[in-house]
Amino acid sequence: MRIPCPFCGPRDEVEFTWRGDASVQRPAAEAGVEAFHDYVYLRRNPRGWTQEWWQHSAGCRAWLRVERHTMTHEIRKVEAA
């Protein structure tokens, strides 16, 4: 898999570190236990398109929001976080 970094161009996946689901939103501090439970633990985990965080850790170190397909590993959108 190659990830097109908006700053460095297409680079091999070994240069990147995955940091999980980017579709979940951190709730407001006073949102309560339920909201935080869902944020920390519940995942859509689709077999299909997902939004996820990747860091170009062995490159420019930028955080990226990547739209990737979990079955084909195709990437259709990458933007700086």
Binding site: T17, W18, G20, L42, R43, T70
Partner: protein, 417 residues
């Protein structure tokens, strides 16, 4: 249905093996069952077997989208053990190991269970302390555990490079009752025993929808039509989230890849199962002679069932550090399975928010050894609509209640577990 015995093998040998019948019956879906189990892996088949055997529920169908045993059940490295730290896991896996020890008799099928020992190496004082603690926890629960020193490791597996430059081996934690059981035999043994008890095993039948009415399950929609059922049990490993999405709820699971590898066949070289403590690597030798080995997860969510080169490189490099002689071997095959990783790497065997819908899931990279007890507890939970004491802690709610079962202390990150 065939019965197996030494005499039968001898007699069939004389008749050119022409008298064998298929081990189990391929069924077509009926319009209605008491219980439908989704997923024809070891866990689904074991659930069906124990429903019939222990709870007298025989009006059961196991529906599998592909072929029986071609999911993780047929992709794992066959290691069976009960060397856990936390009491809930410790008791559950020991129950499982005890079921393994009597499995051939209960199923009437040779699952080739081999208690050759599982040895976890340690390389520094902190690891030694952690393994000593784990060994003590096991012994407090009546499970066998031994701490072995360097000489003990050398005697068990002479080919390990004890003095390797970077990670010299200090010793290991040994569970002698641990070992391996060839996975195909296990899947077929449970399929045969379930089928013998009247259970329908339906292949090439994918569940595409769960029929829910007023918060209760009514059946499943499949590629071979609708099947009505009062109760439905999910046993679909890495695909659990795709099924719960059909019923409208999310679960704490992320699907990740785990790879395994097998070398060309060799004479006996590695007698027990050995895990390396300074990187992700473990190894055993199959009865056919191939070295079977693997490592950690591939690092990002995937349903792809194919591994990446990055993790393969790590596994080979770590393996050659532990056993330099591996450098002379060729890997024959590699493959990957999709793991249902949970935030604490412990499973769910429980009811769900939908009444009549149950699941055994979240087995992560270690569910093969759980196969009999997972089926046993899942069947109990389905039959009685409440968990057995052995799986009472394995709920979907435990994080909300602050009762995570995090063996490793890796935090709520499924991909780091």
């Amino acid at each position: 249905m065939p019965q197996y015995s030494a005499f039968r093998i001898f007699a069939e040998g004389l008749r050119g093996n022409t008298g064998w019948q298929p081990a189990w019956r391929k069924a077509r879906p009926k319009p209605r069952y008491q219980v439908v189990i989704v997923g024809g892996g070891g866990h689904g088949l074991a659930t069906a077997f124990y429903l019939a055997e222990l709870h007298g529920i025989r009006d059961v169908a196991v529906v599998e989208r592909g072929l029986v045993g071609q999911g993780n059940t047929g992709r794992n490295t066959t290691i069976v053990r009960s060397n856990y730290l936390l009491p809930e896991n410790n008791r559950f896996y020991e129950h499982s190991l005890k079921l393994w020890e009597g499995l051939e008799r209960s199923l009437g099928y040779n699952v080739m269970m081999s208690q050759r020992g599982v040895l976890n190496l340690f390389h520094n004082d902190a690891q030694k302390a952690a393994y000593t603690r784990r060994g003590n926890a096991m012994r407090l629960n009546g499970i066998d555990a031994e701490l072995v020193d360097r000489e003990g490791v050398r005697a068990l597996c002479p080919i390990i490079d004890l003095d390797n430059g970077r990670y010299p081996v200090m010793g290991g934690l040994l569970q002698r009752r641990g070992g391996t059981a060839p996975h195909d035999a296990v899947a077929w043994g449970f399929a045969k025993a379930a089928s013998d008890r009247g259970i329908d095993i339906i292949e090439h039948c994918e569940v595409t929808g769960l029929l829910v009415e007023g918060g209760a399950i009514r059946g499943v929609r499949t590629t071979r039509g609708e099947i009505a059922a009062a109760k439905v049990g999910l046993a679909v490993a890495g695909h659990t989230s795709t099924l719960t999405a059909m019923a409208g709820f999310d679960v704490p699971i992320e699907t990740h890849l785990l790879q395994a590898f097998v070398s060309e066949g060799l004479k006996p070289l590695v007698d027990c199962v050995v895990t390396f403590g300074a990187g992700h690597f473990y190894i055993s030798q199959s009865d056919k002679g191939g070295l079977v080995f693997g490592g950690g997860l591939d690092g990002y969510a995937s349903y792809g069932q194919r591994g990446t080169l990055k993790e393969a490189e790590h596994v080979f490099a770590t393996g050659c550090t532990m056993i330099p002689a591996l450098k002379r071997l060729r890997a024959l095959r590699s493959w990957a399975g999709v793991m249902d990783m949970t935030p604490d790497a412990s499973p769910y065997v429980c009811r769900t928010p939908i009444s009549g819908l149950y699941m055994t899931a979240g087995w992560s990279y270690g569910g093969f050894k759980a196969t009999p007890a997972s089926g046993w507890c899942h069947a109990w939970t389905i039959a009685r609509d409440e968990p057995h004491a052995l799986n009472a802690a394995f709920t979907l709610d435990r994080f909300r209640e602050g009762r995570a079962l995090d063996e490793k202390g890796a935090g709520p990150f499924p991909w780091l577990q």
